[in-house]
């Protein structure tokens, strides 16, 4: 039993506990403890993650990842929906940063533009519809906070386990996963003419898909208009 991964298990359990403490439960007790526990859990988890490249790469990645995860946790656990939206926006920015870090420039900006627009509208909805101070009971009390946190932890643990098995050194799956060399990468996904290549792929291999996506957008637009319009009668 020596090879039992103590630290990941501890991080997972701690994270679940922290999550439960932080979720709105109708009381403010334990939220600070929860935040502290969450920070510890994230730190433990981060300490177990492999390093990427030199110290600059490492720090950029881990900062972005931390921002993303912390914002995500905050977006879910804050009681005031306005803050939820703000945190969510920051989570998106963190994600965009991660995209940028892995070379998906276009996605980074596209995510920002689209989600900023979409979330802005959502945000306005929050401002106009929600009780802005987070006073509403449904913002104060979650549905089965403990069950939800436990489920989330189990899901994350299972996913991490699968990922860990895939990339474990003894499993050594990656040698035959066909890893590209850095030259190959630079010629393809990390090419300087990023947008041109992406556009070429999009309007070449995925032409039908993009047409269908366009139709889908149109349908969604019409559907939204119909849903809203019908209620006015």
């Amino acid at each position: 039993m020596n090879d039992l991964p103590i630290i990941p298990i501890l991080a997972t359990l701690l994270g679940g506990l922290a999550f439960w403490l932080m979720l709105p439960r109708g009381t403010a007790r334990g939220r600070g403890v929860g935040a502290l526990a969450m920070a510890m859990a994230l730190g433990l988890a981060g300490s177990q993650m492999p390093r990427v490249g030199d110290w600059l790469d490492n720090s950029v990645f881990f900062i972005l990842a931390a921002v993303t995860i912390v914002s995500a946790v905050a977006a879910v656990t804050f009681r005031n929906p306005v803050y939820c939206a703000i945190w969510f926006g920051q989570m998106l920015l963190g994600t965009a940063g991660l995209f940028l870090f892995t070379g998906a420039q276009f996605l980074a900006v596209a995510t920002t533009v689209v989600y900023a627009g979409a979330i802005l509208v959502t945000f306005l909805f929050v401002l106009m519809l929600a009780q802005p101070e987070g006073k509403a009971a449904y913002d104060r009390v979650s549905w089965e906070a403990m069950l939800a946190a436990a489920t989330g932890v189990v899901v994350v643990a299972a996913l991490s386990m699968i990922i860990g098995r895939t990339f474990a050194p003894e499993g050594a799956l990656y040698p035959w996963l066909g890893m590209p060399t850095s030259q190959q990468l630079a010629a393809n996904v990390l090419t300087p003419a990023h947008v041109a290549r992406l556009g070429g792929e999009l309007f070449g291999r995925y032409l039908i898909a993009i047409e269908v996506a366009g139709v889908l957008l149109l349908v969604a637009l019409v559907g939204a208009a119909v849903i809203i319009g019908r209620e006015k009668r």
Binding site: W143, L147, A148, V155, A158, M161, I162, R165
Partner: protein, 706 residues
């Protein structure tokens, strides 16, 4: 002149097209013009039938067709005799080797290799029998359709009526033109359907609806027998085609199948089944004929069918559809001829029916019902004629069928005319002395009565005489001669009754003091030309047709060219027509008719006091009640068949409701009860559903991990 094939297709196709057109366009577009397509199509159909008869006549007169020459000498096919043409339009169904070769019959090497191939072709045939039937059917139909224009003119279901009538004409023409038993059965049912629809034409009227239902149900019994007969035919002969099937292969005609009534089999009578099997087939077919043609045990539906519109009674329930049974027996004569027992049974049934109908008709007061019983009686005559089993007998039966079609539809249409004038009243006790008000109806009705009673020289005389003669001849031969002697006597007796009830109805309606029921209103006058015109035309037919054909022997010669009948004529030793016997029969029957006429005149032309007295006298033995009560068939059936069946049905219903349904309900309650356990999961909370999804996902992931 169009060729035979075109004509043969046109004859049913035109009414079908008219029926569909009227059905689709009638309610909105045509309305009061709904008769146009129907009348036009049926009239054209009639024209085509007449042309067809001429074509057939010409083909008979000419030497055998070249195609037939090619066929000659192939296999066991004999030199074709008579005239027949079969046109296969398309194949409806085909199952090869549907029935295995019967081993015990292996010695029979006549069967071609295609034995047991179940195939249904939409095959139309024409031979003289068919051609004659087509002309009769379409002729009467045309006249009745024209008559209906006047008779039905303000009915709300005007378009519906003409759609049905066209559909009926289509079905009937297809029935007589079809060339295998399956098609025959299909159209047999279809005319039954038309009959049902038309009897219940005024379906709001409970009596009409009930009558339609009764006709349908009684016919089902007959059709059941018919279907069994067809099955038996299939297992016996391995085919259901009437005709031999030939295919053209490498410039030679090859016989692939020997039809039930095909030339090959006709030429070799030993190929027909014999003994009990033949009797069974014939009697089962006869059961079907009994149902359709209202013969003795199954005749009860026809009087009730008079609830339908009078043109329908005239066309379907007097002239055409009810003769389908006669046609079928005539068509299958070789099958009947294979069993003497069957022929005797047919004759006995016919004789019983003839007397029964006649006796019942004497006391009825409803004009249409008198005619209905008379129809039953005449159909009985036809079967008696057919039962003789010789060419002369069959021709006599068919001849009577034709003349009867004319005079009976004439009488029905006359009755309809009276009914029209009397505002729907048809009870002879409520009106009388109409001869001055309705002269044309009166005179045409008189001609119809004379023809029906068989007064020289009207049509009925000749056909009835032919039947009597055929019976007389048969009775002089061996093999059931006693039965035929009895039949001869009973028909002779029937002739008296026939004259009595015919003229009773006539006198009651048109003589005596003039009485008009209050319902008549302003209608009490002669009918319009669309009604009287057909009456007059039919009167001409009823007057002259019999004499014409008797003198020219045209009908006899024409029919004798039908292959099956031709072989019948060839085979049976036709007794030489003794002129003395012929004259004796004719004179005797005329005397009988005169007696009957005199009785009717004495009883009903005067004060009718004698009639009442006679009725009381007869009733001493309950005879009058027996006749008036139609031999209480309905009541007997009610007690013997319907009541036990209803009891059984109640039992079944109880069983179904409590035991079967109970089981089914239990089966339904189980999932409900089980589902109750899962109900809390359906709590409407989106979060809960999402959680459930995640749990499912976890299960999947667990399967992936472990």
């Amino acid at each position: 002149m169009p060729d035979i094939r075109t004509l043969l297709i046109l004859i049913p196709a035109l009414p079908l097209a008219a029926s569909l057109t009227t059905a689709l366009l009638g309610p909105r577009l045509l309305r009061t013009r709904s008769h146009l397509p129907a009348v036009a199509a049926i009239a054209l159909s009639f024209l085509a039938s007449v042309l067809l008869v001429f074509q057939v006549q010409r083909a008979i007169d000419q030497p055998a067709a070249p195609a037939a020459e090619h066929r000659a000498g192939q296999g066991r096919a004999a030199q074709p005799i008579g005239f027949e043409r079969v046109y296969t339009l398309w194949s409806w169904a085909q199952v090869d080797q549907a029935m295995p070769w019967p081993d015990q019959n292996a010695a029979d090497t006549y069967q071609p290799a295609s034995w047991g191939n179940f195939r249904i072709d939409i095959a139309l045939r024409v031979d003289p029998l068919t051609a004659a039937m087509l002309v009769i059917v379409t002729c009467i139909s045309t006249l009745v359709a024209v008559y209906s224009i006047g008779y039905m003119h303000d009915d709300p279901g005007y378009w519906r009526f003409f759609s049905y009538i066209s559909l009926f004409v289509f079905s009937m023409t297809m029935l007589v033109a079809s060339s295998n038993f399956v098609l025959l059965y299909v159209f047999w049912e279809l005319v039954g359907l038309c009959s049902y629809l038309l009897i219940g034409f005024w379906f709001e009227k409970p009596a009409a609806a009930a009558a339609g239902k009764k006709a349908f149900l009684v016919n089902r019994i007959g059709d059941f027998g018919f279907a069994l007969g067809v099955f038996l035919l299939w297992t016996t002969y391995g085919t259901l085609d009437f005709h031999d099937t030939w295919i053209h292969f490498h410039h030679t005609w090859i016989q692939t199948s020997i039809g039930v009534l095909g030339q090959t089999r006709l030429a070799h009578p030993e190929m027909f089944a014999s003994g009990g099997l033949a009797t069974a087939i014939a009697l089962l077919l006869m059961l079907g004929a009994c149902g359709k043609s209202a013969q003795f045990p199954l005749h009860v539906w026809l009087p009730d069918a008079m609830e339908g519109p009078t043109p329908v009674s005239a066309l379907i329930h007097a002239a055409t559809m009810v003769t389908a049974g006669v046609y079928m027996v005539a068509r299958c004569m070789p099958l009947f001829a294979a069993s003497q027992t069957a022929l005797v049974v047919v004759g006995t049934l016919g004789g019983i029916t003839a007397l029964l109908g006649a006796i019942t008709a004497i006391t009825q007061t409803d004009l249409k019902r008198i005619l209905a019983y008379s129809t039953i009686s005449h159909l009985g005559y036809m079967f008696v004629g057919l039962s003789v089993g010789t060419l002369a007998g069959v021709v006599a039966g068919m001849f009577h069928l034709m003349t009867h079609a004319f005079f009976k539809s004439l009488l029905f249409l006359g009755a309809g005319s009276v009914m029209h004038a009397m505002g729907g009243v048809i009870d002879t006790r409520q009106f009388g002395g109409l001869r001055r008000r309705m002269p044309i109806t009166h005179w045409t009705f008189l001609i119809g009565c004379l023809a029906m009673a068989g007064v020289f020289p009207f049509a009925g005389f000749w056909s009835k005489d032919a039947i009597l003669l055929a019976l007389h001849q048969r009775a002089s031969l061996g093999g059931g001669a006693a039965v035929y002697q009895g039949l001869y006597l009973s028909v002779m007796l029937g002739v008296v009754l026939l004259a009595v009830y015919t003229f009773r109805a006539f006198f009651l309606t048109f003589y005596g003091p003039e009485r008009i029921p209050p319902e008549a209103g302003h209608h009490a006058h002669e009918s319009p030309i669309t009604m009287t015109g057909p009456l007059m035309l039919l009167a001409c037919g009823a007057f002259g047709l019999g004499a014409y054909f008797e003198w020219t022997h045209g009908f006899e010669h024409f029919l004798a060219a039908t292959p099956s009948l031709a072989y019948l004529g060839q085979r049976a030793a036709e007794p030489a027509g003794e002129a003395g016997a012929h004259w004796g029969v004719a004179v005797l029957s005329t005397v009988m008719v005169v007696i009957g006429l005199a009785i009717a005149a004495v009883l009903y032309l005067g004060s009718r006091e004698q009639a009442r007295r006679l009725a009381r006298l007869m009733n001493v033995f309950g005879l009058y009640s027996l006749s008036y009560g139609k031999f209480f068939f309905d009541e007997i059936y009610q007690a013997l068949i319907i009541a036990p069946l209803v009891g059984l049905a109640r039992l079944c219903a109880w069983f179904d409701q409590w035991l079967i349904d109970g089981l089914v309900d239990a089966g339904g309650a189980l999932p409900k009860w089980l589902g109750g356990g899962f109900r809390p999961a359906q709590n409407g909370l989106v979060q809960f559903y999402a959680l459930a999804m995640v749990l499912g996902l976890l299960v999947l992931m667990g399967a992936l991990v472990f």
